[in-house]
């Protein structure tokens, strides 16, 4: 029987729906004309303008700093959380799993508001650090989920084997457990990085004056229409980076090929 064409057609339609607007944006970033309505010819003019904008470069620097810190922290904390969820026996484990997963889908407004309230009540100065802490709260869940998936088919006999061969608990963790989990942890970290770098809502709540990240800056820029083509160029670059990061992360989470 010939396979039905319906799934293929659906897939193509869905992809068009996803990527048509993005394609339009990318195309416009190379449009010489300032207005999207007419094509003024191919040009890298807006990319050059982008390079001259110190406010954008500063915001990019902030975003990268925050995303790096947040993903590193959530790699450590998320891995610890994944171990706790996978290895301990408790009647409350289902509840724990829920509590770790929920931040992924919790409304950003709620997260942002509650974090702001917390920071204010502690008298913390809003800064890049408060943004980083805020980002860790949801990035951690991502890493925890990815690492826990790795742990589920992790053969803990190899850890016993390492102990049996003379390794202390710490040596066994460093020489066996960590190298085997590293692809999962790293993939989770990369996903966390992409989440952090394009977060707007939560960041907006907890950012202090002058600590703009790329998304918050872009949002304030679109009020001025003369900046729009520059934003197109910026968005296209971010798109490129995101694709690259997700591709690497997908490679890492692919289960290793095992010939039988």
């Amino acid at each position: 029987m010939r396979p039905s064409k319906v799934p293929l057609i659906t897939l193509i339609l869905v992809l068009v729906f996803f990527y048509l607007p993005i394609g339009f944006l990318v195309m416009n970033s190379f449009n010489k004309s300032r207005y999207a309505s007419n094509w003024g010819g191919f040009s890298t003019y807006w990319y050059e303008r982008l390079w001259e904008r110190t406010d954008i470069l500063a915001a990019l620097g902030n975003s990268v700093k925050i995303a790096t810190m947040a993903s590193l922290l959530s790699m450590v904390l998320g891995t610890a959380a994944a171990f706790a969820l996978e290895r301990y026996k408790s009647k409350l484990q289902d509840a724990h799993r829920l509590l770790v997963t929920v931040p992924l889908v919790l409304p950003d407004i709620l997260m942002g508001m509650s974090l702001l309230l917390l920071f204010v009540s502690f008298g913390a100065q809003l800064s890049l650090y408060t943004i980083t802490i805020a980002h860790v709260t949801f990035c951690l869940s991502y890493v925890a989920l990815v690492v826990q998936a790795r742990l589920q088919d992790f053969d803990f006999n190899v850890v016993e084997a390492a102990r049996d061969l003379g390794a202390t608990k710490t040596q066994a963790f460093i020489k066996v457990t960590l190298p085997l989990l590293a692809p999962g942890i790293f993939a989770g970290g990369l996903l966390a990085f992409t989440l952090s770098i394009d977060d707007y809502v939560i960041t907006y709540f907890v950012k202090g004056p002058g600590s703009d990240t790329l998304p918050t800056l872009v949002y304030s820029m679109i009020k001025k229409s003369k900046d729009l083509p520059v934003i197109n160029a910026l968005s296209s670059l971010m798109l490129l980076v995101t694709f690259a990061v997700v591709a690497v992360s997908q490679r890492l989470t692919r289960p290793p090929a095992t010939p039988s």
């Binding site: 006999n157 102990r163 049996d164 390794a167």
Partner: protein, 379 residues
């Protein structure tokens, strides 16, 4: 004989389940010792307590006279071959084997010499730089063995090492394992549920059931002189008869009445006196099946019966023969002189003959075993 590895009154409980119940066991230096029993009998728990992955709730584990009970696995001079191999998937075969020596900080030349020796021993030189996922099951098993042996352990623990392999490969590796044991000369403790493996590789076997050791002895003794009904039925197949001593003929033989069967001559494997109740184990291959009434001496038994089932196994045939209230399983090899007459068929009247020595009295008589002991299954 001196005890090398000793379990002393060891008990291990998991919640309300007692996995190992007050076990005392002495294993000698250099022997291959098997822990044999069905799953859940406590054999693996006992092994894990020797390796240090598990600690006894009561009792001690002694190695070479030293109490090793409180030591963590990394400080015990024993190594384990795991059922799942547990090779390190991110390391090459060479690095897998070198793992222990590297942790122990051997000199680099010593490490590479040791690893080469091991690769030679298990015949995997050509695969040294491969990853475990590129090897077959049998090769992985050899790597696991080499990885353990390179550390020169005082005792090698093998946890069902061949369970994941197919029959032919299992038989070949068993021979190899035996050869390696002869070569390295260290104590092997071999955990298995497969009586064939245990019988063929062991110097001595401990048969375990429900957390206790039912019998310890060399394979021949375990098979020919089982102490309990469990051992008799777990190791090979056997027929059980429940009887009562009615006459002590002399110091060697007695006459025993089996209800609904007849009176038979038995060998006094243990001291018996008139009126004692006994369980007799009668292995299928000891019974001779014939159509004609066999000639008997006074130490022979011959009982008439009717064939109720015949199963052909290629190398032998099994007959289930109804004798009075009892059904006995008899096994015959296909030798030409036995086939001169046509082999018995379903429904034929036949005779079963055996010598008094071929039966064996279980050491323990238990009221609850009366009539409960089962025949070998017809499969």
């Amino acid at each position: 004989m001196a005890s090398y590895l000793r379990f002393e009154n060891v008990t291990r409980r998991f919640g309300s389940f007692t996995a190992v119940n007050n076990v005392t066991l002495d294993i000698e230096h250099g022997e291959t010792f098997s822990l044999l029993g069905p799953s859940g009998c406590g054999k693996t728990t006992l092994l894990r307590m020797a390796a240090g992955f598990d600690k006894p709730d009561e009792g001690r584990v002694l190695l070479d006279g030293k109490d090793i009970t409180p030591l963590p696995p990394e400080q015990r001079p024993v190594n384990t071959v795991f059922q799942s191999y547990a090779l390190f998937p991110h390391l090459s075969i060479r690095d897998n084997i070198a793992f222990g020596p590297k942790i122990a900080k051997w000199a680099p030349e010593k490490i590479s010499r040791g690893v080469d020796e091991m690769l030679e021993l298990v015949d995997l030189k050509a695969h040294a730089d491969k990853k475990p996922s590129q090897l077959s099951g049998g090769q992985k098993q050899r790597v696991a063995l080499a990885r353990a042996l390179v550390n020169k352990p005082k005792v090698l623990l093998l946890d069902e090492p061949l369970a994941a392999l197919d029959l032919k490969l299992r038989q070949r590796l068993l021979v190899e394992l035996d050869a390696i044991h002869d070569e390295v000369g260290i104590t092997f403790i071999y955990v298995t549920h497969d009586q064939g493996e245990a019988m063929s590789i062991s110097d001595r076997i401990a048969v375990m059931n429900k957390g206790v050791i039912e019998q310890v002895g060399p394979p021949v003794q375990i098979y020919e002189a089982p102490r309990t009904s469990f051992v008799a039925a777990f190791i090979g197949d056997t027929n059980f008869l429940d009887g009562k001593i009615i006459d002590c003929i002399d110091s060697r033989f007695s006459r025993c009445e089996v209800k609904g069967f007849g009176s038979i001559v038995i060998d006094n494997d243990k001291p018996v006196s008139k009126g004692d109740r006994v369980h007799l184990s009668l292995r299928p291959e000891k019974l001779i099946v014939s159509r004609e009434q066999p000639t008997t001496k006074e130490t022979d038994n011959a009982i008439a019966g009717k064939v109720e089932d015949v199963i052909y196994y290629g190398s032998h045939t099994r007959y289930w023969v109804r004798c009075g209230d009892w059904k006995l399983c008899a096994e015959m090899q296909h030798r030409q002189y036995q086939l001169d007459e046509t082999p018995p068929k379903w429904g034929d009247q036949v005779w079963l003959k055996w010598h008094a020595n071929d039966g064996f009295l279980l050491e323990q008589y238990r009221e609850e075993d009366e009539g409960m002991l089962t025949l070998p299954d017809a499969v």
